[in-house]
């Protein structure tokens, strides 16, 4: 049994359909990257998994064998799904420390706690008592990931971590990835930056216009195949 199973998902916003017949399996402890151009449906896919978008019938989305398609986001957090949203969504009026405390609201225990995430992102320890709205984009992204880890997820969903950040900053944030993977967390990340995605992922899936078009290990698939899948040529 896979940790996460999606079975012919058709999903979207209101009248706009963004996903067409998506089938996806994520194995325990795997690091899986979804790549694709803007508007390919990558974020919609993650939102379907974390519960911001619900699915009917509910058993089309299964987590650890359990049907979760109709479940609210907060209940999915309790099961161990943590979503780090595109645009970070830090709590601006809370301090960095309080943001992390709120991240632990679900009371799931495990390897991650507040000291461990400060170790992972030392810059956050320095900013501990600062309100989040004054942070830079990179700092907010680090905080958002750290906050996501506070619920000790079995599956961590990372949405466009590198979006709007300078390459140097992106590099710095991705330095934390090995520690997260080593902790036994399964990671599903969405990236436009194919290079970054290939560096860390065990498996890569490419999306085009709401469909999964290519899947494989980074070593197995050729640059040409990725190029073709990415742009649909």
């Amino acid at each position: 049994m896979s940790l996460l199973e999606l079975e012919s998902i058709n999903s979207g916003y209101g009248h706009f359909q963004a996903l067409f017949d998506v089938n996806l399996r994520i194995e325990e402890k795997e690091t899986h990257a979804i790549i694709g151009a803007n508007g390919a449906g990558k974020s919609t896919l993650l939102r379907t998994i974390c519960g911001l978008i619900k699915t009917e019938p509910a058993d089309k989305v299964r987590f650890d064998g359990q049907a979760i398609g109709a479940m609210s986001p907060h209940k999915r957090v309790g099961l161990g799904i943590s979503y780090v949203p595109e645009g970070r969504w830090v709590f601006p009026s809370l301090t960095v420390h309080e943001n992390l405390q709120v991240g632990a609201h679900s009371k799931r225990t495990g390897v991650w706690n507040i000291d461990k995430v400060y170790e992972l992102f030392p810059l956050l320890a320095r900013l501990k008592n600062r309100q989040a709205f004054g942070l830079s984009g990179g700092e907010q992204q680090a905080l958002s990931i750290a906050r996501g880890l506070m619920s000790n997820p079995r599956l961590l969903l990372l949405d466009e971590v590198s979006l709007g950040l300078a390459p140097v900053v992106v590099e710095k944030i991705y330095q934390a990835m090995p520690a997260i993977v080593d902790s036994g967390t399964t990671v599903l990340l969405v990236e436009q930056d194919v290079g970054q995605a290939m560096k860390f992922a065990d498996r890569v899936t490419c999306m085009l216009e709401g469909r999964l078009v290519l899947e494989g290990a980074p070593g197995e698939i050729s640059q040409e195949a990725i190029f073709a899948a990415y742009f649909g040529v």
Partner: protein, 361 residues
């Protein structure tokens, strides 16, 4: 090719039902206009109550249902209408029935500074803000001796005509403001500004993107609704004759219009009419049981607003696509028709997601 598609695709506003509805409505209005010839004084008084309720509900619906302005302070304009009528008729000795026009003008003028303050507030705070302003009008009127102070006054000038003539003219005025309010909302919504309004209601940001001046459109609606409410208010007091600040500026007027609109269906022209009729019937049937009718109507309104959001009429229309006063255009492809409006979804609205994100710093 182009020619062929022209034959099969047309944009319609009228449905079969609406083509029938107009003559039927006209017949009802003409029949109603004869009531003074045969109806008793009590029937005329009751009819005025119902007709003015329809007028009030239409004006509130214009405000909330189309411009998204939830005001609980429209009683300000009912009161201003009543006082203007009295000032123009009893103090300036103008024709009391013609003074209804001045009631509208004065209410519209007072709406300008009111909007200047209230438009600084959003959503629920706007609602309470308008309420505070209505209270201010009430308290100021109470302090002015020239306006009768706290005890109010009786409109005496109408006694220059016979009782039957007064009741008949009041009835026709009430019929006039009821029909007028419906016609006004209908044509307003079909105008360019009306389309802009609908755009605002459906998507604030999108409308702004299309170059719609939202604040100005809303201001116009606010002034028009205030003027309409003022006129209706003056007709109400031609019927009641006794004006007191407590009653004229009472929150009950807001309860009346809000409940009628909500029960009937917010954002439709038919809804407020249906709602006003339901309100009126319940009020009459339960008149022996004190204020229980208000409790019942309040509960009905709270229930409808939550569980049948589009009101009784709106719920019916969605199922049957009946439009008596069509303000939407329908695209007709041979037999299948799509209305412009998309049904509003409850609960999850993922389409709104991105706008909630705080901008990256």
């Amino acid at each position: 090719m182009a020619k062929q598609s022209k034959d099969h695709v047309k944009v319609e506003r009228y449905t079969r039902t609406s083509r029938v509805a107009l003559p039927v409505a006209a017949a009802i209005v003409i029949a109603a206009a004869t009531i003074p010839a045969w109806g008793s004084s009590a029937i005329m008084k009751q009819s005025v109550t119902l007709l003015t309720l329809i007028g009030l509900a239409q004006m509130w619906n214009l405000l909330a249902g189309y411009a998204g302005l939830v005001s609980v302070g429209q009683q300000a304009f009912v009161g201003i209408g009543a006082y203007t009528l009295w000032v123009f008729a009893d103090k300036f000795h103008l024709n009391p029935f013609a003074s209804v026009i001045f009631a509208g003008i004065v209410a519209g003028l007072f709406a300008i500074p009111t909007a200047g303050l209230a438009f600084r507030l959003r959503g629920g705070y706007f609602a309470v803000g308008t309420w505070v302003i209505a209270e201010v009008f009430r308290l100021i009127v109470t302090q002015i001796k020239w306006l009768g102070g706290g005890s109010g006054f009786t409109i005496g000038s109408v006694n220059s005509v016979s009782r039957h003539a007064r009741e008949s003219i009041t009835f026709w005025l009430a019929l006039g403001v009821a029909v007028g309010s419906i016609v006004l909302v209908y044509f307003l919504l079909r105008s360019k500004r009306g389309l802009a309004l609908t755009a605002i209601r459906d998507n604030d940001l999108g409308a702004r993107g299309l170059g719609v001046n939202i604040t100005r459109s809303k201001l116009w609606v606010y002034i028009i609704a205030a003027a309409g409410t003022g006129m209706v208010g003056s007709v109400i007091y031609l019927n009641l004759l006794r004006v007191q600040p407590e009653a004229g500026f009472s929150l009950q007027w807001s309860a009346l219009m809000i409940f009628s609109v909500v029960i009937g269906g917010l954002g439709t022209i038919e809804g407020p009419i249906i709602g006003a009729v339901i309100f009126f019937i319940l009020q009459q049937v339960l008149s022996d049981y004190g204020t229980w009718y208000l409790i019942l109507i309040g509960a009905l309104a709270a229930g409808v607003v939550v569980f049948a959001q589009r009101g009784l009429w709106g719920t019916l229309v969605r199922k049957k696509a009946v439009d008596l006063f069509p303000v939407r255009r329908r695209l007709c492809l041979e037999t299948v028709c799509f209305t412009e409006e998309t049904p509003r979804k409850s609960g999850e609205e993922p389409g709104r997601l991105p706008s909630e994100e705080p901008p990256a710093v």
